[in-house]
């Protein structure tokens, strides 16, 4: 069968891309600085949430609600790291190293290459998520009942969430191919917009109605709700409260599949556009 050698070749290329990703990401003179770089941002955001909660706790803030927000915020590191990271790969390779054109013109395939490069981003994000949760558990009192954790749905939801994150990364990388020097700004903006839109730290009912509709179409909104329910034991109030766990899982699965298809289509549409515009070997940082 010709399929197996081609899968082997793709895996080999992805492995090479992952190795390259590690060489680039790990190119730090100082390991302490490297650790700060991975952990400082997510931990600081977690601390901001914790202080905000502790400040208003006396006014009747529900601790279980806060635990759910904290958990979702920790997992949002994946979206932050992978989404910005994959777009950054495109930008950096095109503008700084000027190697994108060679990667593109080689048989590795951009999709495989980006998937390989994203592996390091996922690894770094995992470290960040675990440390944030540990800090929450041991230092900030963010705790949940392990007995009520629903492991299977949790694993399924994490798998769906990570796959959606990867496809969002593809989409943003594709967009970065078309964007000029504004790519960095757009990437940062999409991260912040996703933080607001997906209701990471509040129920989406608090958003204006049109934005709620958008939020319900995104897999990340469902992912965070699933994490809150299956790990922390409590979902959010409002529109989500009316849905059963199964419905949430189905919504997450459905939204993830639709999103993956759309993201893949979007990536290749952007790639075609970039070729048409001659952006693949263009430096625009000047």
């Amino acid at each position: 069968m010709a399929v197996i050698p081609s899968i082997r070749a793709a895996l080999s290329r992805a492995r090479t891309a992952a190795w390259l990703g590690w060489q680039v990401e790990g190119n730090w003179a100082d390991p302490v600085l490297f650790s700060i770089y991975i952990l400082a941002r997510p931990l600081a955001t977690a601390l901001i949430l914790a202080i905000m909660y502790s400040t208003v706790r006396a006014h009747g803030a529900d601790p279980t609600v806060f635990v759910g927000f904290y958990v979702a915020n920790a997992f949002h590191s994946y979206v932050n790291t992978v989404l910005v990271g994959m777009g950054w790969v495109v930008f950096e390779e095109r503008e700084e190293y000027e190697t994108l054109k060679y990667v593109y013109a080689s048989p590795v395939g951009m999709f495989t290459y980006l998937a390989g490069r994203s592996l390091v981003k996922f690894t770094l994000a995992t470290v960040s998520v675990v440390v944030t949760l540990l800090v929450g558990w041991f230092l900030l009192g963010v705790r949940w009942d392990w007995a009520t954790v629903q492991w299977l749905p949790l694993a399924a939801s994490i798998a769906a969430g990570l796959a959606s994150t990867l496809f969002l990364g593809f989409l943003l990388a594709g967009w970065s191919l078309v964007l000029t020097r504004s790519a960095m700004v757009v990437l940062e903006g999409v991260t912040l917009a996703s933080y607001l839109l997906c209701g990471v730290i509040f129920p989406i009912d608090l958003l204006p109605r049109p934005l709620q509709a958008v939020a319900l179409g995104l897999p990340f909104t469902w992912w965070y709700e699933a994490l809150r329910r299956f790990l922390a034991g409590h979902g959010t109030h409002g529109v989500m409260q009316r849905l059963s766990d199964t419905q949430v899982l189905l919504a997450l699965g459905g939204a993830s599949v639709v999103f993956a298809v759309l993201a893949r289509w979007g990536y290749f549409a952007f790639e075609r556009r970039a070729r048409a515009l001659g952006r693949l070997d263009q430096t625009t940082l000047f």
Binding site: W28, L49, V56, I201, L207
Partner: protein, 293 residues
């Protein structure tokens, strides 16, 4: 020698290229250079829509999320006002960090830094121009945060003195942008690593500055932060003017104003010293004005 056809007729030189009056020196040169560099910022802020979006909209998205968290937690409305004020000030901090701190590093990467070093105007004048232009552009953008606070989140302000607000705001900005000038030297000295560090420290600074909660909530850590970061004191002082007791201020307002003035003087001095050191180091080692080094 290569023979070739005559060049197309071009304009003559005299009197257009020759000097008929002396060039500015001293204060006039400083002001001319400051205005020229500020002009780049102001023109840029009007011409580049992505910068407007990034500076005006994005910082406010984070602010909105934190305001909604207070709402989700059932906190009194005054906390939302605290977060809105902090969110508006985030716009300035981002401008100081990336528009001031990282700028010399960018200038170097673009091969332009050596032109500044070789020009007769001082580097302080160029950085002052960046600060003035950046501040002017950011003031306009920060109005988006103010508008969100007033019309979307219906923030209620106490009766406040515009003079007190202006005084505290100016002191905060002078201290912040002077810190930005000092950071620009550090960024240049430590290059890529400084860049990544600043990127990594963006949220920690938000945390230590108490941008989304009263700085008093940090206890002793808040006091330490206020002793290091002008943003912490400035945020607290501006909240005290705008929100009165609801601000849950750290120190009495006059004391904070005095400390901010101290910060301004200190950071202007460190900026001057660090830039002079930078120039000496650059000439001695011959690295800092070269790209990719």
């Amino acid at each position: 020698m290569t023979a070739h056809s005559p060049a197309p007729q071009r304009a003559g030189f005299e009197p257009g290229l020759g000097s008929t009056r002396p060039r500015h020196t001293g204060v006039r040169l400083f002001l001319a250079a400051t205005w020229a560099r500020a002009y780049v910022r102001i023109a840029g802020s009007l011409r580049e829509p992505t910068w407007i979006i990034s500076d005006a909209i994005f910082p406010n998205l984070g602010m909105c999320a934190f305001v909604l968290l207070y709402r989700a937690l059932g906190a009194p409305r005054e906390y939302e006002a605290l977060a809105v004020v902090g969110g508006v000030l985030t716009t300035y901090w981002i401008n100081v960090l990336w528009g001031m701190g990282a700028q010399l590093y960018w200038e170097k990467q673009q091969g332009q830094l050596q032109l500044y070093f070789a020009a007769p105007c001082s580097l302080v004048a160029v950085l002052t121009g960046m600060a003035v232009g950046g501040l002017a552009a950011t003031m306009v953008r920060s109005l988006v945060g103010v508008a969100l606070g007033v019309w979307v989140f219906h923030v209620q302000l106490a009766a406040f003195s515009p003079w007190a607000l202006a005084a505290v705001f100016v002191l905060t900005m002078v201290a912040l942008y002077a810190l930005g000038m000092t950071l620009s030297s550090l960024f240049l000295l430590y290059g890529r690593e400084a860049w990544h560090t600043a990127n990594a420290l963006q949220e920690p600074v938000y945390f230590l500055s108490g941008l989304y909660f009263p700085i008093r909530s940090l206890g002793a850590l808040g006091a330490v932060a206020a002793g290091i970061l002008p943003l912490t004191l400035g945020t607290d002082a501006i909240r005290q003017v705008l929100l009165g007791h609801a601000a849950r201020g750290l120190l009495p307002l006059p004391l904070e104003a005095l400390a901010l003035a101290g910060f301004a003087v200190l950071f202007l001095w460190t900026a001057r010293v660090s830039l002079a050191y930078l120039e000496t180091l650059s000439k001695r080692e011959g690295r800092l004005t070269q790209r990719w080094q």
